[in-house]
Symmetry: C2
Subunit: 321 residues, 2 copies
């Protein structure tokens, strides 16, 4: 088997490779060639940790396996390591033998960034020029960096509950040679694309904050109770997601569903747009919203790409089982 | 992290170590110190394979993780490798970091054998002398070998749908210096202990095949629809299991439950007997039945023992992540 250690991954995994892996697997999900297994998520009653498994199988890409791990909230304080810890295990779909083990920490950040990036490429207006951010934490930098590659943006604007953290976004904008402007939530009306990436449990982005024609990627809501966009904003938008079942139960669409403002049939798979079986955006005035909930197949796809990259660059560890 | 490769495990793992690990974790389950996660089991639509994850956490033993893998029915014919393929991954419960990867094929055979062996030790009559087997496949040899260590048995008797396979049992009996006798199902009335280990979907062992005072370990039923013992035999016995939720849904007790002959409250955890909180067998005439469904915690416990053994014997592979 092959091991790709976490320490090797930041030098191996490009945004481009992550983008391609995620776009391909979203397409495979929509065409019925790939599916995610039910998610296991357990509050284990030790260290306040959440632990679980996200598995899936992509019969076209040949990826079978799972991401295992979770959230250990005291890691940074107690052990000086990051709180999100995960590892991906790939299996040979022809034999069931373990094929690879791949660090899942850095790749989770990049696959999550790739998801909103894929949605921008397929759903934002071609003339989008102002990029808006809600949230400015560690993951927000990854989302912004990937997003800026999808359109010739001319400016980044951003809002965060703790304004002092907006320096994170300003830095990423500067890397891309773009000006950054801190705005209040009303100021987001200037944005052509908005990414929300917070851990909020109450709506931040309301209907009047968003102009017609905007594409929104809601990336923070992955649990029952979390919410970034108001239910009426969600109901007003044309809705896309990675996986419909997750979107309506633990994703951003859960609240509009619960309020009876939308039904499951109102939410389309982004993969259908990638495949061309859904036309995507219909008009320049339409608000499109991508609900990125995060699926195991993204992790498997990016990890499979990492195995190939690690072998090619000679940094894969081979273990004789 | 530490890797214990499959090839090293037959020389490392003893029946004694498997027995202790399984007995301890059954006790921890009954005392509320260890629990299994919901099982993921997927028919992936490729190679007729069944694939999934059995996870759990034992806060006393410190084992957190999962067994991943499944059943690839064409492996032996197509690739010359065994059809059951699995791998165990252990995580550090304090940080969520992966701690070890352990081959799961041989250890699954031994942990399954250990389960019926634990049940015999705690539930069979002390004067049990005749060991009966229903089933004579590959796994039956493991079950019998472990069982014979629990009482001073004087004879092994056995029945199998294909009688020519009974030579497997005769060989194991001979290793222990015991005579073997092929019997018809009525002949099992002579047995003091009976292990059933088949893949049957219809009852084989009926009430009139079993004498008062017998201990039965039903080890083959792990799926909806499978069945080894008749529902009225199950209803007549005092019932024990590894995990009640599995016993009544996918284990041997599913049929007596469905027929309304027993309720969930009639099935006790074997761990309660090990802990002393359940008295176990009440009388020499009682039929006791252990429904062994197989839980992830068994795999984690045996694998954690294997990590220690592999380090001690110098065959662990250490990988710097």
């Amino acid at each position: 088997m092959i091991i790709v250690p976490e320490r090797a991954i930041p030098d191996l995994l490009t945004r481009d490779a992550s983008y391609k892996a995620v776009e391909n697997v979203f397409a495979a999900m929509a065409s019925g060639d790939a599916y995610n297994f039910p998610v296991i998520r357990e509050s284990i009653g030790h260290q306040d940790a959440l632990y679980g498994f996200k598995g899936g199988f992509d019969r076209v890409g040949g990826s079978l396996g799972l991401k295992a791990g979770g959230y250990w909230p005291h890691n940074l304080d107690t052990h000086g390591i990051i709180n999100h810890q995960s590892t991906v295990f790939l299996f040979d779909p022809d034999t069931g033998m373990v094929r690879a083990m791949v660090g899942g920490n850095y790749s989770t950040a990049l696959r999550t960034a790739a998801a909103s990036s894929v949605s921008i490429n397929h759903l934002a207006r071609k003339d989008a020029r102002v990029m808006g951010m809600v949230g400015a934490g560690h993951q927000a930098g990854f989302q912004l960096r990937a997003a800026l590659e999808q359109r010739p943006f001319e400016k980044v604007i951003g809002w965060n509950y703790h304004p002092e953290m907006l320096a994170n976004l300003e830095k990423v904008a500067a890397e891309a040679g773009l000006p950054f402007e801190a705005v209040d939530l009303d100021g987001l009306a200037e944005a052509d694309v908005i990414i929300t990436i917070t851990s909020s449990f109450a709506p931040i982005l309301l209907e009047h904050h968003v102009s017609p024609g905007t594409h929104i990627a809601c990336m923070g809501t992955d649990t029952k109770g979390k919410q970034e966009a108001s239910a009426d904003l969600v109901a007003r938008a044309t809705l896309f997601t990675d996986e419909v079942a997750q979107s309506i139960s633990i994703g951003e669409c859960q609240h509009a569903i619960a309020a009876g403002l939308i039904t499951e049939a109102d939410v389309s798979q982004i993969g259908a747009v990638i495949n061309g079986s859904h036309p995507g955006r219909h008009s320049a005035d339409e608000i499109t919203l991508f609900d990125g909930t995060g699926v195991g197949l993204q992790d498997l796809a990016v990890s499979a790409a990492l195995v190939d990259l690690a072998v090619e660059k000679g940094v894969a560890i081979e273990v004789d089982l």
